[in-house]
Symmetry: C2
Subunit: 150 residues, 2 copies
Amino acid sequence: MMDEKLPEIRLTPIGTVRSEIREPTHRQAADAASEIVIDEALTASLDSLEEFSHIIVLYWIHKSRRPAPQKVHPRGNPQSALMGVFATRSPSRPNPIGKATVRLLARRGNILKVQGLDAIDGSPVLDIKPYIPGYDSVEDARAPAWMVKE
Amino acid sequence: MMDEKLPEIRLTPIGTVRSEIREPTHRQAADAASEIVIDEALTASLDSLEEFSHIIVLYWIHKSRRPAPQKVHPRGNPQSALMGVFATRSPSRPNPIGKATVRLLARRGNILKVQGLDAIDGSPVLDIKPYIPGYDSVEDARAPAWMVKE
């Protein structure tokens, strides 16, 4: 039981993904190059980001299935046992926010060119953060075989 | 110039942080133990999460300064040069979503006990994801000295 009502939160996207990925896919997007077009009014907020090799992109999975199921097959594989959706990276989740760590290839004004973003074309972008080794990475992390196996 | 209007997005938090950290702080929270109380209606969505050693918590930085400044001093240190807010992890950002990677100590029903969460008490939780080594970590990432130095 929650001891207080959870308030509704409103977000305004800061930009949009431009990608050749047009449909949701379960394949890795490791080689895909995309652009993130940030609202021009926020261009100055990107200054110094180019000093980082990698960035974290939080985006809205706008084509996700709603409402989200409680259990899903990991990686969309029907052979896999059903798992709680929060134990997976399924795009169909209660708040469908995607989190991708991508290589920052270039920044030109309000446009970021990145590699490895698995967001589809048109995805609203919610936040951009620098990737910080040690803070965002874990040396001794353990994940079950059903998640890490190809 | 954006070529389409960015739509407003509405989120309903999935839970709340219970922490001894009551005020925003710039110190690392590496040793802090916290609880994440998830909406009981979503308990089944957590199943199998306990197979992961670490999880990613997306939360709402509900005490952040609004509107966000375009430039901030990294780590809140006035001696540092001003940087674009997206080049920092400042809590005062256009969409103040915090992203923390934390150790999952235990799961009991709808309650997650975690270590290292820098969210303050009462923070609304937006999403829980498993941390996947290799997908969420980068081997060769580079960050500037002003960010990585203590």
